[in-house]
Symmetry: C2
Subunit: 145 residues, 2 copies
DNA sequence: CTCCGGTATGTTATAATATTTCATCGGGTG
DNA sequence: CACCCGATGAAATATTATAACATACCGGAG
């Protein structure tokens, strides 16, 4: 486990403790897998990664992912049916994700929406914002090819 | 069939003809179902609606939906695994959708992105923008309850 | 006309994603 | 201890989507 992952896990533990949330072993393990992956991970890939430990079943993974996303420790990427660790440990609410279709890199931005956005009187609870394309490295690689 | 749906279908036919696309019977029928629904429709609900006509199979529906979304006549709502007719017949590219979680109403906005958005050098191919909440009618209904 | 290539559709099967349901465990609290 | 509650285990199943291959139809080339 890289030092970076360790630090992120420690930070997650602290965040959960202060919020009264239980970062149990399964949840912690799933978060670790997300942190270690360079690209978004599918639920069944997580499941496969957990198998060696003990015979995990789908609900185990989905529950852990549900917890992590609620806790703001991970994001679900809707258009990919995949998940990624959140890099802004303290970031509340919804992020905008920039997903490289070449290398899988996910960059995260938090932006507050201008209030005049959207139809009159529409009250937004939750937003999904995902941009697909090429990250800067892959865009230049492609251009030179 | 309401007059509004008829008009939309006619417009779709014209749009396809000018682009050299074939709005075949299945595709047209699926578009009609989308237009007639007040809320987003799931693929398997479309499938069920098509059954009476002839024994349609999943690929039939998914192909039609694929065509319609490519042609800009429908949108896939990623976080719901559902589909809705596009109300901007001529609108190209990606829309921002405002989806009422109470009544299912989908409003559509097209917005051009400021170029400074996103990480440096990231090249966006496609964006998914979905806002979930309450439409103006449902928001006031809820407030009074 | 006939053949051919391409697009669209039909058909069967199966893959991939996700949830329901009920049982069990373990830790805190009265 | 007895109880409750949140978390996990386990089995089954529901939902969403695609693969793979066969067939049909239509246009143009020969």
């Amino acid at each position: 486990m890289t030092e970076e992952v360790t630090r992120a896990l420690t930070a997650a533990e602290r965040a959960c403790r202060t919020k009264g949330l239980a970062l149990t072993p399964v949840r912690r393990r799933v978060l670790q897998l997300l942190l270690e992956s360079p690209a978004p991970v599918k639920a069944y890939d997580l499941l496969a990664s957990l198998k060696p430990d003990g015979g995990a079943q789908p609900p185990t993974v989905y529950r852990a992912l549900d917890f992590l996303t609620r806790a703001g420790l991970a994001h679900r990427i809707e258009a990919l049916n995949a998940y990624t660790a959140c890099v802004h440990v303290g970031g509340r609410g919804s992020a905008e994700l920039y997903i490289c279709e070449a290398c899988g890199l996910v960059e995260e931005r938090h932006r507050h929406r201008a209030p005049e956005d959207g139809p009159d009187g529409f009250h937004i609870n939750r937003s999904v914002v995902e941009h697909y394309g090429r990250c800067s490295a892959c865009a230049t690689a492609q251009a030179s090819a």
